[in-house]
Each structure stands twice: as structure tokens, then as C-alpha cells.
């Protein structure tokens, strides 16, 4: 099974532009009920990701007021070189890496390194379960 067969396609997971502020990024994550948002440029090149884990860590370390935190660009707090998967990667290989790195979601890039999807554990588990049956 390949990543492209089970990934969430563009439009089904949170994606924001480079100047979107953190408060709007959180709203986008809530809208999709996912713990990750991908930041892209105009050509869909992945600039960074921001996750629930990042929020937890920031809340414990950032000392400025919430109002100042919320208006920061989400990109400023993002991981700029996240782990990614390719559409042609085998799901079993990618899942192993996600387990080792304790990652729930993985941005998926095409051959041109553009963001095309998100590998989210729930649909993957479901697909793998159906495969076994």
C-alpha cells in the first residue's frame, strides 16, 4: 500500500499561508479536528508545520501575553524542516518511522516537493485493518 492511497487529500486537512497568524491557525486546526497545520507559500511549497505538541511546549515556555502570542505569524513558531513522506512511499515503511518519532501526522509531498496530502494515523489504521481482513 502506498502513501497516496490513504493520505488525506488537499482540502481535507489544515493548510495556511505564510502570513496567517497563530490564532487563525488554531481555528483552522479546530475546523478539521486535526492536531497539525501545514504552512505553505503561493506555490504550495511546504514552509513549516505547527502541531498540538508545539502549542503545549510554547504554552510552557513563552512568557508574553496571549494577545501577543496569538498575533504572531504561525510560521514563526513552526518547525521549518519537518519530516515528510513522498506519495510513492510504502505506508508500512512510513508508519514505522512515525512510530519511532512518535508522530501522528505527516505532510506528504509530490515529486516536485509540493504539499499534496497529509498522512493521518486514523485512516491509515483503518486501511491497514481492512487490508488484513
Amino acid at each position: 500500500m502506498l502513501v497516496k492511497e490513504v493520505m488525506l487529500p488537499f482540502g481535507k486537512f489544515p493548510v495556511i499561508g505564510r502570513t496567517v497568524i497563530l490564532k487563525e491557525a488554531l481555528e483552522e486546526m479546530n475546523k478539521h479536528s486535526l492536531g497539525i497545520v501545514c504552512v505553505v507559500d503561493e506555490e504550495q511549497t511546504l514552509l513549516g508545520i505547527f502541531t498540538d505538541g508545539d502549542i503545549r511546549r510554547q504554552l510552557l515556555s513563552i512568557q508574553k501575553p496571549f494577545s501577543a502570542f496569538f498575533i504572531d505569524d504561525a510560521l514563526d513558531h513552526s518547525t521549518k524542516t519537518p519530516l515528510t513522506a513522498q506519495i510513492s512511499d510504502k505506508v508500512h515503511d512510513v508508519i514505522k518511522t512515525m512510530g519511532e518519532r512518535k508522530i501522528w501526522d505527516l505532510p506528504v509531498l509530490n515529486e516536485s516537493r509540493k504539499l499534496v496530502g497529509l498522512l493521518h494515523l486514523h485512516p491509515v489504521v483503518e486501511a491497514l485493518f481492512n487490508e488484513k481482513l
Binding site: 502570513t19 497568524i21 515556555s61 513563552i62 512568557q63 508574553k64 501575553p65 494577545s67 501577543a68 498575533i71
Partner: protein, 293 residues
């Protein structure tokens, strides 16, 4: 974050470059245009002082002070006469000019004459004002409202950018500290500078005590030199300081405008502090204290 350079001046007036690692620029003049003769006199006096100090300046004076506390206070000479006087000053002295505007309908005319268009602090988040300011095509001096946090000024910046304005200077003129009192939070400069745009300190309005005298504002101008040194050392690119040859007779902001007899001393110190800061930056590099480590 890309640090932007703002260029003020068009036509026959040589542009002044404002931004990171560039010389400090002074913006000043009487708060309101009182008459053509007075405006010319002030422009000549300020020009002479700035030449002696070796600092470039932009002549500032407004044609309509729409935020006066009292209906009987001097409101200004009006847009037509005021802009004509500013236009004449540009031609006579070859200096860039700036005025604010308080009504979107005044923006186009203001932008036709002025090299720099000022958005008043009280109106800094009004979308119609910001759109009109952007439409002038001129650089914008955007004052931080006394009620605004420095980080929330990014919303106003984004409104200007959305209207295709990318020549912006952000100014602090103090922040309300309870009633009738302002304070300067010096962290506002690095916070606003994080937008990438140059930052300005408005010394004369920062020492204002808003409407503290019933129907007019008071002020503690004795603190101007202290705050100027602090703000310049903190990395401002522009120093805004209104000045007058006879403050007691000034038709607007008589309690805050700086007597011109003090201007050379303060500008000389400001210029030197700015130069020392640039020397320190060269020697020790940019500040690099991480917020969490």
C-alpha cells in the same frame, strides 16, 4: 523577517532613505499650520538647526486637527490653504513634508502634496482611513493608538499591505496608563520593528497628559530629552518632535510642543546616541537573546 527601507521624497525633493543601519531622521515642525509666514519661519529655523547638527529632516505640520478636546480650540487652517502652504515649503526649502488626515475624503489631496502621509493615532485601526492612506501611493507614518498594544499594530500594517502599501513607518506616541496619563513602553520598538518596517518615536505626544486640563491636554515636556535618549538607544529610525518658536502662543498642543531653543541640543544628542548604537551593533552584532533559553 525582511527589513524594509522607506523612501520619503518625490519630484524635486531629494528622497530620504529611512531604515535599518541608516542615519536617524528627524520629523518636526509646529503641530498645526498657523500661517504661511509662521510655517516658513519655522521651516527656515528647523532647516538651519538640522544643517548644523547634520541630520536630515521632514517638515511636519497639520492643516486640520480633528482630535482637539474642545470645540473652541483651534482646528487648523483648513485643507486647501494648509496643503498650499506645505507645497510652498517643499518648493522653497526642498524639504519633504508630512501632514495627517482625519477623513478618508481628504487623503487623495494630502497624498498629492505630501511626501509622507500620517495616520493619526486615534484612527490607526480604521479600515477606511488605512485604505485611503494606502491609495495615496505615498509612504505612511502610522501612529500607534494610545489604546493599542504594539503587537496589535500588525493588524493595521496588514490592512495597509492588503491595499498594496508597503512603505510604512510605525510610530509610538505613548500608551494610556489609566486616565489622562501616558507611558512609553520601550519594548514597543523591537515589537513593532519585527514587522520589518522602520520605527519612529513621537517625543512630543508621548509626554502629553491627554485632556488633563479639563478641555485641553497638558504635558511634561521636561521629560522629552530623557525619553528621546532612551528611544534612540533602543533602535528607532525616526525621531518625531514637534517644535515651536513660542510654545506659549502655539495654537495647538501648546503644553507639549518643544521650544525650538532646545531643539539643537536634543537633536545633537539623539544623533550621537544613534551613531554610538550603530557602532555597538557593528562591534557586538545584533541582539540575540533567545526568548526561552
Amino acid at each position: 523577517m525582511e527589513k524594509k527601507i522607506v523612501s520619503v521624497g518625490y519630484g524635486d525633493v531629494k528622497p530620504i532613505k529611512i531604515g535599518d543601519r541608516l542615519p536617524l531622521v528627524y520629523v518636526g515642525g509646529p503641530c498645526a499650520i498657523e500661517s504661511k509666514d509662521h510655517a516658513f519661519k519655522m521651516a527656515e529655523m528647523i532647516g538651519d538647526i538640522c544643517r548644523r547638527v547634520g541630520i536630515e529632516y521632514i517638515y511636519k505640520s497639520c492643516y486640520d486637527k480633528d482630535c482637539r478636546s474642545s470645540p473652541t480650540s483651534f482646528h487648523g487652517c483648513g485643507i486647501d490653504d494648509g496643503l498650499q502652504i506645505l507645497s510652498d515649503i517643499r518648493k522653497e526649502f526642498g524639504v519633504p513634508v508630512v501632514s495627517d488626515f482625519s477623513d478618508p475624503a481628504w487623503a487623495a489631496a494630502t497624498g498629492e502634496v505630501c511626501d509622507l502621509v500620517q495616520v493619526p493615532a486615534y484612527l490607526c485601526r480604521q479600515t477606511s482611513i488605512l485604505k485611503a492612506a494606502a491609495k495615496t501611493g505615498k509612504p505612511i507614518l502610522l501612529k500607534k493608538g494610545q489604546f493599542m498594544s504594539p503587537w496589535n499594530m500588525k493588524n493595521s500594517v496588514r490592512k495597509l499591505e492588503a491595499a498594496d502599501c508597503h512603505q510604512i513607518i510605525l510610530a509610538d506616541r505613548g500608551t494610556f496608563f489609566g486616565y489622562n496619563m501616558l507611558v512609553n513602553d520601550m519594548t514597543c520598538f523591537p515589537i513593532m520593528a519585527y514587522t520589518g518596517y522602520p520605527v519612529c518615536f513621537d517625543a512630543s505626544h508621548s509626554i502629553q497628559l491627554p485632556t488633563s486640563m479639563g478641555n485641553i491636554s497638558g504635558g511634561q515636556r521636561e521629560f522629552i530629552p530623557h525619553l528621546v535618549r532612551s528611544a534612540v538607544a533602543n533602535g528607532i529610525n525616526v525621531l518625531f518632535m514637534e517644535t515651536h518658536d513660542n510654545p506659549l502662543k502655539a495654537l495647538s498642543d501648546a503644553n507639549t510642543v518643544l521650544d525650538i531653543k532646545y531643539l539643537e541640543n536634543i537633536l545633537s544628542q539623539a544623533k550621537r546616541v544613534h551613531e554610538v548604537r550603530l557602532e555597538l551593533l557593528e562591534k557586538y552584532g545584533e541582539d540575540n537573546v533567545h526568548p526561552q533559553k
